[in-house]
Amino acid sequence: MDLQPLKKQLLQDLKNVSSAQGLQDLKVKYLGKKGEITLLSKNLGKLSQKERPKAGKSINELRALFETKSGSLLFKIEQSEIEESLEKDSIDISLPANNLQNGSLHPITKTIDKICEFFSSRGYLIEDGPEIESEYYNFDALNIPKDHPARDMHDTFYVDVETLLRTHTSPVQIRAINKRSVPLKIICPGKVYRSDADQTHTPMFHQVEGLLIDEKVNFGNLKQELTDFLNFFFKKNLEVRFRPSYFPFTEPSAEVDIMDKKGWLEIMGCGMVHPNVLKEAGVDPNKYSGFAFGLGIERMAKLDYEMDDMRLLFENDVRFISQS
């Protein structure tokens, strides 16, 4: 039996078809109940036993050929039909989205978070403390007795004779030791108040206080920790300088400077916790030692965001603060 003419016709038909419906019609024409291939199969019985297997095989091959060819053709047809329909869905994607009002955190919050992120990763707990403080915690417990000249460095707002707005976050040192006992690693971001206002001073500003107390803590630890921190914060290898300074609650005390475009820039104060402060908080200074540091957030924000006037941070012009 010669199937070549039929095969040739079948391939020609498939070549001419261009729609899913046309393909379906072809399927009926060849494989339907009265389809040409179906009829050939039905007529197999009429052949001799010798011819039958060979003819059967040829018919099956032809059927398989049709099915494979029509299957891939169907896929192609469907694909091009979908592509045509896509065109109808076309929109102008350059039209604006609705309601594009963004929210963001205040630059101060972001700066505090950047600082806290570093110290959290080193295991410091983030503490909090009252903003209206007693003279005891703000001064006396920190080795700054009444009439001490160091009190002149703090232009203090008073609420009553013995109560004030904290002038630094250092009171949290004592409160944290009392609350948690040693060894201890804490930092405390927060608002502080001093009666001072110009381009670089606002009567309220923010500080972060850090305190680490353990056995065998030394000055080298302080230098390493703060150097690492400053490199993290400014994302580069900074030239960092520690120089002697004075805080009544640390001994030795130091200021930390970083090398800026214009020269050395004072960035934070620090030191080894004064034995009197440890004693006042009930910690044995012979067994434990520690370091403490404090830094001004506005100053860090100013450097990080390359801005000049600190007062802008609290004017809350949304156009300004939403940039961070």
């Binding site: 963004n102 707002f157 002697p244 001994e251 809350n316």
Partner: protein
């Protein structure tokens, strides 16, 4: 303190490179604020820390440089003036603790003017050094005394002997004793003020300023020169109390070398002798050795020092450093402790840590080795800081801009807004607009709204997290979250219109509470005086009010001079930090069944009551009840509304059959009718 480089070099006895000198001073802890280049010299401005009273003179600064350079300062030249005869005036000290030592001498036959009636001139270098230090020229006597103070650090005073009645006393003031000071300020002293007085009147507020009436003038011909040691404690705070800070008081309250008085007096006399003239009495010193400061022995353990600094200094190295600082040391061979005695000019060395700092300073902070921290394990716990930050980030993600306002506001604004309950006033505010602690976050946010809308903002969503303060019996500080939603944009964009309303805000608040793991809350009409009574709600958590939200009260709007309304919320921060134990439940495999039911409801009934009644009668398999339609008018009876609910059920054990659902629907309808006169529609 401003000093000349040449003056400092004269004391040290060698020349210095200016930039190296400035760097050296700064690294010693004498921070150089600025260096001004002059014609032939440099003016060095040193920012002294309050502990270093000993450096409050050119000599003091020179001592530091010398110690750092390991050299010894040369001795001052001996005096060549004839002193003869006891002073006529007696000085009696009645308060030795406050004034342990008082040296004085009398000078007579003085004339501050020359033959031509011109005021005698001091050498140019003295005038220039004083001018650079910012010390005004008064007259040759006072100028010399100021120069001695600048040069070696001893504050001195001269009284016009002819203006003094009888003997002098050093004593504490009687109550309400008045004195007119040199600057003509009249002050009322109190009993803790140390005075110098004659037999009739006070002639100086000791260590701070002399009286006007006893002062030296150009006609003065005899004087009493005072060079005293007043204890820092007796001087501290006095200047500040009367708003006077003098060069003398600043030095006395930090501590003046108590072995310097006689030397300073001799120095002053020699300068007066050289440039003015006069006849000099002997120097008389009245003192009580037991009241003078003592320099207690400090035990230093070299191993403690090395442990604290991370160094490995030898005992010899440490002793060498201390010797140049004039700290004497003694220790037997093999003795682990060195006994140290600080010099009389150092008031800041009392304990071992102070000595360790001295060694660190002289070694150089920069030379101390860095070392990784090795600390004990500390248990982690999430604190309010992290919770607050999480919530701030959530609110910002809902398009709010965070603001930070001062914690103090204008008390008149708080009064206007009715926010004065427990208001705390600041006794010494920086200005009247910042004179009271905020009792709510509203005043600050209102200011932000006003200023931003003045700049043209017609849309503003801002929030703040911070403390509010009040005092009712005792002071309390509460952390709050608050925010303003101001939306006056008629058309939001090319696709959407419709303005912000109570339900937009309610959606936000509920999302926020959900973020805070607070699902079980109740809303009630708000009692807040800040909010519109009909368009606001209070939020309750287990019966406790934790905040409010809604439209601002029209009265507040009027008081704040605002024309257009806005929405406001204020919530207690701490109530928003909740831990939630979560159990993940596998959803049911059986199909859900839904029914839509609409009811005719009298206008006065609220949604919540109807919803509760539905839930109550919906059986165990209820999944949720959702309001999907609300309308009034149409064919509804007067004063009625239609509420349409989609109710969904699902069982964990079986497919629910229609009969079961029908029976529930009947139960719902019956109860609503019986209890609320609410009819099922259709």
């Amino acid at each position: 303190m401003k000093i000349l480089k040449s003056h400092l070099e004269e004391k040290i006895g060698k020349k210095k490179n200016i930039s190296k000198l400035a760097e050296q001073l700064t690294m010693l802890g004498l921070e150089v604020d600025s260096v001004d280049s002059l014609k032939k010299d440099y003016c060095i401005d040193i920012d002294l820390t309050p502990n270093r009273g000993d450096c409050f003179s050119v000599l003091g600064v020179a001592r530091e440089i010398a110690a750092d350079d390991c050299i010894k300062l040369k001795k001052e030249k001996p005096l060549k003036v004839n002193l003869s005869g006891k002073p006529i005036t007696n000085v009696i000290i009645k308060a030795y603790d406050a004034c342990p030592k008082y040296c004085y001498s009398e000078i007579s036959n003085l004339s501050l003017k020359d033959k031509n009636d011109n005021v005698k001139k001091l050498p140019e270098f003295i005038n220039y050094r004083l001018e650079i230090a910012g010390i005004n020229s008064i007259n040759p006597i006072v100028d010399i005394l100021n120069y001695v103070m600048l040069d070696i650090g001893q504050p001195m005073h001269a009284f016009d002997k002819n203006k003094i009645d009888g003997d002098i006393q050093v004593r504490f003031a009687k109550s309400n004793e008045k004195i007119i000071l040199l600057d003509k300020q009249k002050i009322n002293t109190s009993q803790d003020c140390l005075l110098i007085s004659d037999e009739k009147k006070p002639i100086a507020l000791a260590g701070v300023m002399g009286s006007y009436d006893s002062s030296v003038d150009l006609e003065t011909n005899s004087i009493i020169l005072e060079s005293a040691f007043f204890s820092p404690r007796s001087i501290r705070g006095k200047g500040r109390r009367f708003g006077i800070q003098t060069d003398a008081s600043q030095r006395y309250e930090r501590g003046v070398d108590f072995e310097l008085q006689r030397k300073a007096l001799l120095f002053a006399i020699s300068l007066i002798h050289e440039h003015i003239g006069g006849v000099y009495s002997d120097i008389k010193e009245i003192s009580s050795s037991k009241s003078l400061p003592t320099r207690k022995l400090i035990n230093l353990s070299i191993s403690t020092l090395n442990n604290k600094l991370g160094t490995s200094l030898s005992i010899t190295e440490v002793k060498k450093i201390l010797t140049f600082l004039e700290i004497s040391s003694s220790s037997g061979p093999g003795d682990p402790l060195v006994k140290l005695k600080p010099p009389s000019h150092r008031f800041d060395l009392e304990i071992e840590a102070d000595i360790i700092e001295e060694v660190a300073r002289l070694v150089g902070y920069d030379k101390l080795p860095l070392e990784k921290v090795k600390t004990s394990f500390q248990e982690f716990s999430k604190t309010d800081y992290q919770n607050t930050l999480d919530l701030k980030k959530f609110i910002a993600s809902q398009n709010f801009q965070e603001v930070i306002n001062y914690s103090f506001v204008d008390d008149r604004l708080q009064e206007k807004l009715g926010l004065t309950k427990g208001m705390i006033k600041i006794q010494n505010p920086i200005n009247e607009k910042l004179n009271s602690m905020r009792t709510s976050l509203l005043p600050g946010l209102l200011n932000n709204l006003t200023s931003n809308s003045k700049r043209g903002a017609s849309y503003l969503k801002i929030f703040e997290e911070g403390k509010v303060f009040s005092k009712i019996k005792k002071i309390s500080e509460l952390n709050r979250f608050a925010g303003i939603i101001y939306d006056q944009e008629k058309k939001k964009g090319w696709r959407e219109s419709g303005s912000y309303n109570f339900f937009s805000q309610k959606e936000f608040i509920l999302k926020l509470l959900n973020f805070s793991n607070l699902q079980k809350i109740t809303l009630k009409p708000s009692s807040s005086k800040l909010l519109h009574p009909k368009v606001s709600a209070d939020i309750f958590k287990a019966g406790k009010k934790i905040g409010s939200f809604g439209e601002i009260h029209p009265i507040i709007l009027k008081k704040a001079n605002l024309k257009k309304s806005f929405f406001y919320f204020e919530l207690d921060s701490l109530e928003l930090f909740n831990e939630k134990k979560v159990e993940l439940i596998e959803p049911s495999k059986y199909p859900q069944v839904q029914r839509d039911l609409a009811f005719t409801v009298p206008e006065y009934l609220i949604f919540k009551d109807i919803e509760s009644e539905i839930i109550k009668n919906s059986g165990n398999n209820l999944i949720n009840v959702k309001l999907f339609d609300l309308f009034k008018g149409g064919d509804l009876p007067k004063n009625h509304k239609s509420l349409a609910f989609r109710i969904t059920w699902q069982s964990k054990k079986e497919t629910l059959d229609d009969l079961y659902i029908e029976s529930i629907v009947k139960e719902i309808a019956k109860n609503l009718k019986d209890n609320f006169k609410v009819e099922l529609r259709g």
